[in-house]
Symmetry: C2
Subunit: 618 residues, 2 copies
């Protein structure tokens, strides 16, 4: 284990307060590397089927990738995984910032938390040593306060922090984990798992650079990123995410009023350009990254928004904005800050509030349910209050803290058609009625609808756009608005390729070509890998995640989209068109077949499991 990885995995038994390390060797890392690789491996190996995700029997895994912490853009991230309290299936989220790189520099590749502490604790790691520390005094505190206190206590002002606020503590089912104060391992409710374990934070300080084989290869490739800005990185370098609001409003891609409508009136009002012109105080970065896409905003009225908590990403601007019918940028920024203080996923909370707004407008919820709040689309004050109520599980907030799927079950049958989720996870901010391949991705992602898993454009209309994909054997641009076999083929290859980002734990905003990716992995690890081997690692991880879901009772029937996506939007550019259900179903089953799964059931065939050498997992 000379390069890339340390070879050490830290295991923390919170029930017994014990720590241990284990070493699994190069062959393990090469087959199951990084986020999805390691997480799916350990969850399948170590969790009993059918456990309660919020019980001590769940395990919470923090994992880095083979290139985490190397001097190249997009390599500062880490993955977190557990059985998801939101979906009941495979839970996994990735997060940017510095924490992942810091963990590697502190000598560990991954941490597995087991059990539940008898009282709140945090984990302190520095340069190969780890220690469970008391966190009674931090429980109930915002992430920012916890971070500040830990840094003061340790005397390490550059310690990196991954932790939860009251959202996680109160087991909000879509609570996230916040890295430092700006970056969220957002999806699948991993903050609630952390809360259930009474684990407030993991603070890390490391000083050892990651061993790499050929730094010059990495530096040269990184130079390309910051001089050529390939793909759309120049745009997010300049504005961050959310600079395409107007375009999206025009083409129907901007979810509006709980995905009901297609005419958001003021997209400019919530755009990254407007932020840049008004409340931005600069751009921030993740570890070693030349893209620097992270907005920072500051507000002093009508309330303060602390720039330490960063600024809203596109997903947040749309989920708490257009999806709730809101164009009040300042309120969105405040809600974003609160979510980061409390450790709550902005996508799920936005879509859940939008769901409640639609229920309210339909009379399924009344002011009696909302403690007098007029929970209508566009009411930014009510939205902000609901964020607080959800974080504290107060009143209706206690129901909405369960997510749209469970909330709808409580509110009643008629509410279910407004619950925009897949497998229990709320749908992120791109429109399946516009991007059919994306819709298929939402449906079959092991984590449910997810903005970081299985989301990729399959609507390339120019040969030039296909060029970086040629190495995957893809060259033919295809028209949008279809899910024919060629589109499914494109989708399948791309979903394996993009899922590799979840294994490498690299940023999908930093677009290296397949060949460059191979070069990065080789220059780091000293392997002689290939696109083939990397695709197989990714495919292996996808199959393991699927096997986990199958073990937990999920079936092909769970690979489905909300009914709404098969009906047109009520207005706007997609008011005459929707996803074709028949074509969608055919595409789904063809995807199963292309993956080597039973075309009907979506269960991996024995031959596929043998081919990937993972029959141990069944």
């Amino acid at each position: 284990m000379a390069y890339g990885y340390n070879g050490k995995i830290l295991r923390v038994d919170l029930s017994h307060g014990t720590l241990s390390t284990e070493e699994l060797g190069d062959a393990f890392y090469r087959r199951y590397f990084g986020g999805r690789g390691m997480i799916s491996y350990f969850l399948l190996r170590e969790l009993a089927a059918g456990i309660d995700p919020l019980s001590p029997e769940n395990k919470l895994i923090f994992a880095t990738g083979p290139v985490t912490g190397v001097p190249i853009s997009g390599s500062g991230r880490n993955s977190v995984g557990a059985k998801s309290p939101l979906t009941g299936g495979y839970g996994e989220a990735e997060v940017g910032g510095y924490w992942g790189a810091e963990l590697k520099r502190a000598g560990f590749d991954a941490i597995i938390f087991e059990g539940r502490a008898s009282s709140p604790v945090y984990l302190w790691i520095t340069d190969g040593k780890a220690e469970i520390r008391d966190a009674d005094h931090l429980w109930g505190k915002d992430t920012g306060e916890a971070l500040k206190t830990i840094r003061e206590e340790s005397g390490e002002r550059f310690a990196r922090f991954a932790g939860i606020g009251i959202g996680g503590e109160n087991l909000v089912r879509y609570a996230c984990i916040i890295n430092d104060l700006k970056d969220a391992a957002g999806r699948t409710g991993l903050g609630a798992v952390m809360g259930s374990k009474r684990l407030k934070a993991i603070a890390v300080r490391g000083h050892e650079p990651v061993d790499i084989v050929d730094k010059n290869v990495l530096l040269a490739l990184n130079r390309k990123i910051v001089t050529e800005f390939p793909g759309f990185t120049k745009n997010i370098h300049d504005f961050g995410t959310g600079a395409t609001m107007t375009k999206y409003a025009q083409n129907g891609n901007l979810p509006t009023r709980n995905f009901r409508d297609g005419n958001f009136e003021n997209p400019e009002g919530i755009s990254a350009q407007t932020i840049k012109k008004t409340i931005s105080v600069g751009m921030d970065s993740c570890w070693a990254c030349g893209v620097r896409c992270k907005k920072v905003v500051k507000l002093e009225e009508p309330w303060s928004v602390d720039p330490e908590y960063g600024g809203p990403e596109y997903e947040t601007l749309a989920a708490l904005g257009s999806c709730c019918g809101i164009d009040d940028l300042k309120t969105i920024c405040k809600a974003n800050e609160l979510c980061n203080r409390y450790s709550i996923d902005t996508i799920s909370i936005g879509v859940t509030i939008a769901f409640a707004m639609e229920c309210f407008e339909k009379g399924l919820l009344t002011e009696k349910d909302t403690d007098g709040l007029k929970l209508t689309f566009g009411n930014s004050d009510a939205m902000l209050k609901m964020v607080e109520k959800i974080a504290r599980r107060e009143g209706l907030g206690n129901i909405l803290a369960e997510g749209t799927k469970r909330a709808a079950q409580k509110i009643g049958k008629r509410a279910e058609m407004f619950a925009m989720h897949v497998k229990g996870q709320e749908v992120p901010m791109h429109e399946p009625r516009l991007k059919w391949g994306l819709g298929l991705g939402y449906a079959v992602s092991p984590t449910g609808a997810d903005h970081s898993h299985n989301i990729h454009d399959t609507d390339y209309t120019l040969e030039e756009q296909m060029r970086p994909l040629n190495a995957l054997g893809l060259s033919e641009p295809l028209p949008p608005g279809t899910l024919g076999p060629k589109k499914v083929r494109l989708f399948t290859y791309l979903s394996i390729w993009r899922s590799l980002y979840n294994c490498l734990v690299t940023c999908r905003f930093v677009e290296f070509t397949p060949t460059e990716t191979v070069n990065i992995v080789n220059a780091t690890t000293g392997w002689d890998t290939s696109v083939w081997e990397l695709m197989k690692v990714s495919e292996r991880a996808i199959n393991l995640a699927r096997l986990f879901n199958i073990r937990e009772g999920l079936t092909a029937d769970d690979d489905r989209l909300p009914e709404r996506f098969f009906q047109p939007q009520t207005s706007g550019p997609l008011s005459k068109t929707a996803l074709d259900k028949n074509e969608f179903d055919k595409a789904k089953h063809l995807y199963y077949g292309m993956m080597g799964w039973d075309p009907d059931t979506g269960i991996p065939t024995r031959a596929k499991l043998e081919e990937l050498d993972i029959t141990w997992a069944t």
Copy 2:
């Protein structure tokens, strides 16, 4: 089409004496490149199902690969394909020498012959021009005489020749096509197809170097071959093939007396080392190759053997030697020379004669059938006489010219157990009872048992041996003598990888790693390809070849080995062990599944065809 390929395919209608060229564009070449790619594409597209392989309806295709003719070892080869008169299915053979490189340098990537000439002709090609010329005066002549005459007629003493002798003219079902005088497109009877078209030869002279993007990359990689001799190339550089005779005799790999026995008494007598010490007059090479593995031998007594016809390869030494129980090196060399003169595959003729010898010893053939020849194992004089009789279709030779499968059907039921063929093609000179993976390869190869298709060692016992395969995701050495799921996985990946050689039309004796192979293709073509894309090209070609066979009526039942391989050898190291039939069958069906074929029928699933984007082929 700036690089690697010319972009021009020559079509020759022999029935009408017309020539045309067609251009199919870069997208075609990138998906269906080279030997197996182009040949399977054109055969499926253009042949009607069920045609007689020796009728004018068959087409004969000569194809080069994307790197043919570039300055790197192993790149001088070409492929030939047609519906096989030997198997009735997909026919394809590769051949070394200079002809492939010369065709590229003359401006063409491939030639498709259609129809049948009314009288013998040959094709003359020089620098972008092609011409059908009369060959009445060449018909009936040895390849050497035809070559000499064509060179004299054309005034081009460096013209390269691919042609047939009387074996092809007389439609011996395993007639081959001889490049110049030493190299054979040996298998599947393509020389008979050439004979049926009354096409004596294709002579080529070209002066244009193949356009390549980065010559330096190629030169550097080539330097590695001739300085480091990776793999086993040093051995064949020094001795050529056949230097492992003694080892093979010791481990049971040397087919002896029609695969019956395991104790060949004098392996040294027919070894490459003995040739080097006695009758060798040096080593020869193919185009641009630093390995120079081609033996040249010369004899003056008891008969002359002309060094212009090269020397025997391992397959020839074993097929006409040990397999016939013969250790008389001089007779083997004479038989080899005759086969090259007459254009007959030395493997098939050797195994066919061995079959006849066993029939003779069992009394199924008598001296009445053999015109008085004592056709016993070890009778080298009888062997040589049978070569002549087969080439001329005289007496028993007329039956044996049909190959073991048809001959056994004529001789009678009891003879069938001695017919060592798969799908009608005679088994080459490695032992499935020793190398179980090789046996599976023989069984499932689209061409039947074939020394150039699907043959690869799967018995790697050291991690070091696995290292070049790491890039394919293979790292675990596996014990020999099993066909368990891990072995089938290794086999499946390797069979796709090695089949790529049949697509690239490069020499499997020149072992570049997967990464180096990608670099060679990129440096030639300017593509940004990957191991993934190359594997998919190969997989596509394998599937097309399989679809061709299915269309011609072949089923999973034809993917089988002769019964003898499931019984021990009568003596020697494998006298107590044989292939396990149950394990073999399970492995075959698992291989189907891993390939994305129906596990029972071996028919490619719709999803696999969609994934490879070849549904047009069904």
